[in-house]
């Protein structure tokens, strides 16, 4: 089971890499020829002055808060909330760290049996953290009405992390996709769908569980 997860993780990493390669925009900076070819008309024989990062405000970090619904396999769906911090490496790639928290409902067995409880109240809390790599697969503009255009991007994301559930830590792979809608240059709305995949033996048998999460959030670039 553990190895199946690893194979899955490796696959998702290679898919991301391939995506990057196919779209002709790897992590290496691409220089378009037309700009390089044109000779500057004015050629002053002066020393170049390097503008340091302090001179210009760079906004490569993005912090966000989100809330939504997360389904824990066999344990129903509940409200999930959390926070994310992303760093935009290039216009295509970003890394993201996130934490989230939700609570498990009763399994069907617990509900039907009347009184039997598989987990105590404190064991029903689920918290997760993960670190992922994202790729802006479809950047573009969205139009509202006739006079308003907003930048947006559809991205795919995958990563690894830890899920604490029922007094146990689970190595977790997450994959998903999201949509970023920039209201201004530095404020964005997000819709995110993630699958948190981990192995669990909670119900007696070792199995891979899929825990789907749908969230909406707001983020700020800084």
């Amino acid at each position: 089971m553990e190895s199946r997860l690893r194979i899955f993780l490796l696959k998702s990493i290679s898919v991301l890499t391939l995506l990057g390669l196919f779209s002709g925009c790897s992590l290496m900076p691409v220089d378009d020829a037309p700009y390089e070819d044109s000779e500057p008309v004015i050629k002053p024989q002066l020393e170049r002055r390097t503008i340091t990062e302090a001179d210009i405000d760079s906004e490569d970090f993005e912090a966000s808060a989100f809330v939504g619904v997360m389904s824990i396999e066999d344990f129903g769906s509940n409200v999930v909330y959390g926070a994310r911090l992303a760093y935009h490496i290039t216009e295509d790639f970003f890394t993201e760290a996130s934490i989230g928290r939700t609570e498990a409902d009763e399994t069907s067995f617990e509900t039907l049996s009347g009184g039997a409880q598989i987990l105590s109240d404190s064991q029903r809390e689920l918290t997760y953290y993960n670190i992922s790599l994202g790729y802006n697969i479809l950047p573009g503009e969205a139009f509202i009405g006739k006079g308003h255009a907003y930048n947006s991007a559809l991205y795919v994301i995958a990563g690894v992390g830890n899920t604490e559930f029922a007094d146990d830590s689970h190595f977790t792979v997450n994959v998903g996709a999201g949509y970023r809608f920039l209201m201004t240059d530095w404020i964005a709305l997000h819709v995110d769908f993630r699958d948190h995949i981990f192995d669990s033996d909670l119900l007696g048998k070792d199995k891979t569980t899929h825990n789907l999460e749908a969230t909406g959030g707001i983020s700020f670039f800084f």
Binding site: L9, N136, F171
Partner: protein, 246 residues
């Protein structure tokens, strides 16, 4: 739909009222016949405005390799770094933007990253921070979480890393370290209790510089766990991940 539109536009009004003083921004003069302004910080966004040679623009901010500039008439758009580097300062000097590059990679001071992999059949995830004392030697502090079938563990380690060829893009390194491993048996096993043991590691690995402040790192470590029992436990550890440097 109308509600959404209204909400977004309303929100925007509140947000854009944060006006900044004019002379706060860095100014550059267009030296090429023209400079293209895109609607967004990406290669696909359309060019909606062109700034002529000799015109001055203010540089508002930067995102990855794109700069947001404002013309004298108040038009705001995004310009790629390659084009920004062809501009002049108001004094007539060429501009160049500080950019972390390969040179900074071999001269880095701080490094931090995330690695994931295999720890004797169990999954492992590691977060680390390192400080380079010289180009060849750095000290590293790492925390790992191990997810096993029968027990979970947390490892804290201090490692000395030697890098014989700091100027190579694909640069190998050797490591030697020690620390503590805290093992927490899973709840279903009742007879084992939590314990803390000492751990020593020796390893080899490579760093590959990618772009900007970003690199990929892969490593193998051979660990010895000094247990209370007479036999020490030897564990192979394989990891790969990404890291930043400053």
């Amino acid at each position: 739909m109308w509600l959404l539109t209204a909400a977004i536009i309303l929100l925007q009004c509140f947000i854009t009222t944060e006006a900044l003083a004019d002379d706060e921004y860095y100014k550059v003069v267009v030296a090429e016949p023209y400079m293209e302004m895109h609607t967004g910080p990406g290669r696909g966004y359309p060019v909606f405005h062109v700034v002529d040679r000799g015109d001055e623009v203010e540089v508002i901010k930067r995102r990855t390799d794109w700069f947001m500039v404002r013309t004298k008439r108040g038009k705001e758009g995004w310009v790629r770094r390659a084009e920004m580097e062809l501009t002049l300062t108001p004094e007539g000097e060429k501009t160049m933007f500080a950019e972390a590059g390969f040179g900074d990679f071999s001269r880095r001071r701080w490094e931090g990253g995330v690695l994931a992999g295999d720890f004797d059949g169990a999954d492992i995830m590691t977060v680390y921070a390192a400080y380079a004392m010289t180009q060849n030697f750095s000290a590293e502090l790492s925390v790992s979480q191990v997810f096993g079938d029968f027990s979970d563990a947390i490892i804290g380690r201090v490692t000395l890393v030697a890098q014989p060829f700091p100027e190579w893009r694909l640069s190998p390194f050797f490591s030697l370290g020690g620390g503590l491993i805290y093992t927490d048996p899973n709840v279903t096993l009742v007879d084992e209790s939590d314990r803390t043991d000492q751990i020593a590691s020796a390893g080899v690995g490579v760093r590959l510089y990618l772009t900007r402040r970003f690199m990929v790192r892969a490593e193998y470590k051979n660990n010895v766990i000094f247990q209370d029992k007479n036999d020490n436990q030897e564990i192979d550890e394989w990891k790969a991940g990404f890291a930043f440097f400053f």
